[in-house]
């Protein structure tokens, strides 16, 4: 492990609340290359608190890249420039001494800033609440091995299910589209036999809420896939598109 500290200039987005106007504030830090970027912010905050100043508000939880809570845009990249990791897994050894880091919140109309680097991502959960489930209650289900699911199908469903719902796709997209996130969820259920009864109903209700929440539409730039910390594939968006189109043309319901 390296031991020489890095001297960095941080330009951190500060914003009081969703109503106020934000701006960058400059900080100088000296940080161990073994620290993660969030640990660097912890240290900075400890220093600020000691000086009686307001610490930089940012969110994180598991710090293992699985909960999807953290999400900073570092020099333009959601979760930083290293592919396939979340912000909490980004270690300072990936930066050069003397570098300037611009640290910003995820930016999208659907993700209003609550404070500094914290944004509200509840729009994503509203989409899930609109149909991101299989309508069963607890109990009364068949034996787990009653249904045969091929390894390939199960594996494809898992590829989609690995999404951590962090919102980096929305943050990376120039249109702030949530289609990678929604596509992944729709795909997981569309692929599995358990999801078939509600397959077309589900995709329609989820897309409807997605549109209501103020996310943009996909123009197939695929920036989402490039920045996704879990490498979720845009094939999932294609699958959602197909199911949605089929649903609209197949449905006997005049109103949908």
């Amino acid at each position: 492990m390296s031991s020489e500290n890095l001297d960095l200039t941080l330009m951190i987005w500060r914003q009081e609340s969703s109503q106020s106007v934000g701006s960058f504030e400059e900080f100088k830090v000296s940080v161990s290359p073994d620290a993660s970027i969030l640990e660097m912010l912890d240290e900075l905050n400890n220093r600020l608190e000691k000086e009686g100043k307001n610490p930089v508000a940012f969110e994180s939880d598991c710090r293992e890249g699985i909960c999807g809570t953290c999400g900073l845009v570092i020099n333009g990249h959601p979760h930083g420039k290293i592919p396939n990791i979340a912000t909490c897994q980004l270690h300072m050894r990936n930066f050069e001494d003397g570098e300037t880091l611009y640290i910003e919140p995820f930016r999208a109309k659907a993700f209003p800033v609550l404070k500094d680097l914290i944004v509200e991502r509840d729009g994503m959960d509203k989409i899930l609440q609109a149909g991101g489930y299989i309508s069963i209650s607890t109990g009364g289900v068949p034996d787990a091995n009653e249904m045969l699911i091929s390894k390939e199908t199960s594996s494809l469903a898992m590829d989609a299910a690995e999404c951590i719902g962090c919102g980096a796709c929305v943050a990376a997209c120039k249109n702030a589209s949530a289609m990678l996130f929604v596509g992944a969820k729709v795909s997981q259920y569309a692929l599995l036999p358990q999801g078939q009864p509600e397959r077309y109903r589900r995709v329609q209700s989820m897309v409807a809420v997605m549109d209501e929440m103020g996310f943009g539409s996909c123009t197939n730039t695929y920036a989402c896939e490039a920045e996704c910390p879990k490498g979720i594939s845009i094939t999932n968006i294609a699958r959602m598109n197909r199911d949605f189109i089929v649903a609209k043309f197949k449905s006997q319901d005049e109103d949908s």
Partner: protein, 636 residues
């Protein structure tokens, strides 16, 4: 004065749960919608309970301090979930899972609860598959199983290395369905800070809205707490940054007994501390020990790089001390041994880390085989440490991971406060003094899907469906209490940050109430924690405002509670003059250094009743073993 009544049903163990379900009172379907239930926490236990109760027809108010239910730390569980399906036809059964779990817990758990856990384990897998959880499968389309520590059968179901994530997303999907049916209202970014008791019964909670800082009051006929464990008392643990004991601790202070607080699990294979700025410890799957060899230099403060240290200067201490089990020795033994050699000054660079070396395995099997087996783990390691484990030995060290202790509950998962139910890691119930791998997910979901929906209903059946107004004096009193505490924390304006004090507490806990404990250390710990607590209330600095998003204030409240809980952990450890599972008292060990239980005097659950800060009344729930014979835990 509380009275412990475990309410274990009569009859043979295999029939207890069935009989109990039949004997329980039911709430008429039309009346269910007249009852409100509060569920705090949206991890596996909380989400599954809220969803199941909502599906039954109750009105559920679910609370999480996260921005979304999906973030709860259940999501980080890697390995898998146990069930007694016996799909591999290798001799598994409900009774065997029951036996393994009780034995794994070093005979310090309640037989009836564990049997029920094993009994409903199979329903969990069915439920999760029906929800669309993409468990691993074989080519034939059937579910795949793998084996895990503490069992001789393959009973662990898994979804790649993200079983916890997939199970939580499944439970959250069930919750989302109830939200869409308007049976559950989810309150996000709310931290529960107080319970409200009316006539001694749990009737509501007080929350702080973490965005606006407002202190909010919520009323219900029953309260379910599923708020996880308290490993973060150590500051550094594998728990998430926000995992905390506050909700559990505040109900403890209002009358819920806290059981076996000293039972903590220290996981042997975690990434070690790299520096003062470190915020948490990361778990590396225990499976690495199948091919990795653990060693430290023979010499104290060895300056050479690992690859430059010749064989004769290395001490493969597990292989030396436990020749039959070697690197695969049980969790507690491996953890304690690592501490021992590091305490001798023989850790990596004299610090707290030991080598986990794959060079032998790579030479023997080739890098490709190792890559296939552990590729993703090696990648994680390299991401975090910047070192290539194919070339340089990994560095690992044990870390606090799970707490078996928790709020005391009876067979119905009801605490000593009527109407307050505790689920998942937050209760003490099923794992005794040590938890086996892949059992935490099982317990959380068992409690939430298959136990609480019955037992909470049984409680409500004898309650009147009357809502208590949130302007009731008890609500106002609790609200004021919370408000005063917030104001107090903000008014100290000292010179020590919350993190500084938390780190200090963590060091005390880790050194004296950690992997190995002794009377002297525990007594010192109690003194030191008390001093630190005074220091906190005199000198802490909490910047900012109470009516705002203020993360320092959130942490300050949690650390204030740890400073009380830590003392109880030490007190409980001091009281338990034996070694069992995760609780190792240096005075009580065999000649070979193994844990020495004292069944005659300590085959009981220690349940602590809060009197005032630093003062508790002890209670005992004697453990009776009618189906299993108390035996020395041995894996040889």
């Amino acid at each position: 004065m509380i009275k412990l009544d475990s309410k274990i049903p009569e009859g043979p163990i295999a029939d207890k749960w069935t009989n109990h379900k039949f004997n329980m009172k039911l709430v008429n379907p039309a009346n269910k919608r007249k009852f409100d239930i509060i569920v705090v926490g949206t991890g596996l236990a909380g989400a599954s309970a809220a969803a199941s109760l909502g599906a039954l027809g109750y009105n559920v108010k679910a609370f999480t301090y996260h921005d979304s239910g999906r973030r709860a730390h259940s999501i980080a569980a890697q390995g898998g979930i146990n069930a007694a399906k016996n799909y591999p036809n290798d001799g598994d059964s409900v009774f065997r899972l029951f036996y393994d779990t009780v034995k794994g817990g070093d005979f310090r758990s309640r037989e009836a609860n564990v049997y029920r856990l094993a009994e409903v384990s199979n329903n969990i897998i069915d439920q999760c598959v029906a929800q669309g959880v993409p468990f691993a499968r074989e080519y034939g389309g059937l579910l795949d199983n793998r084996s895990f520590g503490g069992a001789q059968v393959s009973r662990t179901f898994y979804a790649r290395g993200q079983t916890g994530q997939q199970l939580l997303l499944g439970a959250i999907s069930a919750l989302n369905r109830e939200i869409s049916r308007k049976k559950v209202v989810l309150y996000t970014r709310r931290e529960m800070l107080e319970i409200v008791l009316v006539d001694g019964h749990a009737r509501g909670i007080i929350c702080r809205n973490l965005v606006t800082g407002e202190i909010e009051k919520y009323s219900a006929q029953a309260v379910v707490l599923a708020t996880g464990g308290y490993s973060n008392v150590y500051f550094l643990s594998t728990n998430a940054m926000n995992s905390n004991a506050t909700a559990a601790w505040r109900v403890h202070k209002k009358g819920a007994a806290f059981a076996n607080p000293c039972y903590t699990q220290i996981h042997p294979t975690c990434l070690p501390l790299h520096g003062g700025s470190q915020s948490k410890l990361t778990l590396m799957s225990e499976s690495l020990r199948n091919d990795g060899r653990i060693w430290v230099p023979k010499k104290k403060g060895e300056p050479r790089k690992p690859n430059d240290i010749p064989e004769e200067d290395r001490d493969y201490y597990l292989e030396r001390k436990y020749p039959s089990f070697g690197n695969l020795s049980p969790r507690d033994i491996s953890s304690r041994s690592a501490k021992e050699v590091c305490d001798e000054g023989r850790g990596v660079n004299g610090g707290e880390a030991v080598y986990l070396d794959f060079s032998d395995a790579i030479n023997r099997l080739g890098q490709k085989v190792i890559e296939e087996k552990y590729g993703n783990l090696f990648e994680i390691y390299e991401t975090i440490t910047g070192e290539n484990p194919y070339q340089v030995p990994m560095k690992i060290y044990p870390a606090p991971h799970y707490t078996m202790g928790g709020l005391w509950v009876d067979y119905n998962l009801e605490s000593t406060i009527p109407g307050l139910f505790i689920l998942g890691e937050a209760n003490f119930s099923d794992h005794g003094a040590n938890r086996l791998g892949a059992s935490a997910l099982m317990q959380g979901l068992a409690d939430g899907y298959f136990v609480a929906p019955f037992t909470v209903g049984n409680y409500l059946a004898s309650e009147k469906p009357e809502m208590i107004d949130v302007e009731h004096p008890e609500f106002i009193a609790s609200q004021n209490e919370v408000d005063d505490k917030v104001k107090k924390l903000l008014s100290i304006k000292g010179n020590k940050t919350v993190d500084e004090i938390h780190k200090k507490l963590g060091r005390i806990m880790w050194n004296k109430v950690g992997m190995a404990r002794n009377e002297k250390g525990l007594k010192e710990a109690i003194e030191e924690i008390r001093e630190l607590r005074d220091d906190f209330w005199k000198n802490v600095i909490v910047v900012g405002d109470g009516r705002d998003l203020n993360q320092t204030l959130e942490r300050a409240g949690r650390v204030a509670d740890y400073l009380e809980l830590g003392e109880l952990m030490a007190l409980d450890a001091l009281n338990r003059n034996e070694s069992c599972g995760g609780h190792f008292r240096e005075e009580y060990q065999t000649e070979g250094g193994e844990a020495l239980r004292n069944d005659d005097e300590y085959a009981y659950v220690a349940a602590w009743e809060f009197v005032e800060v630093g003062k508790w009344n002890p209670h005992k729930e004697l453990l009776e073993f009618e189906n299993l014979k108390l035996a020395t835990r041995s894996y040889i």
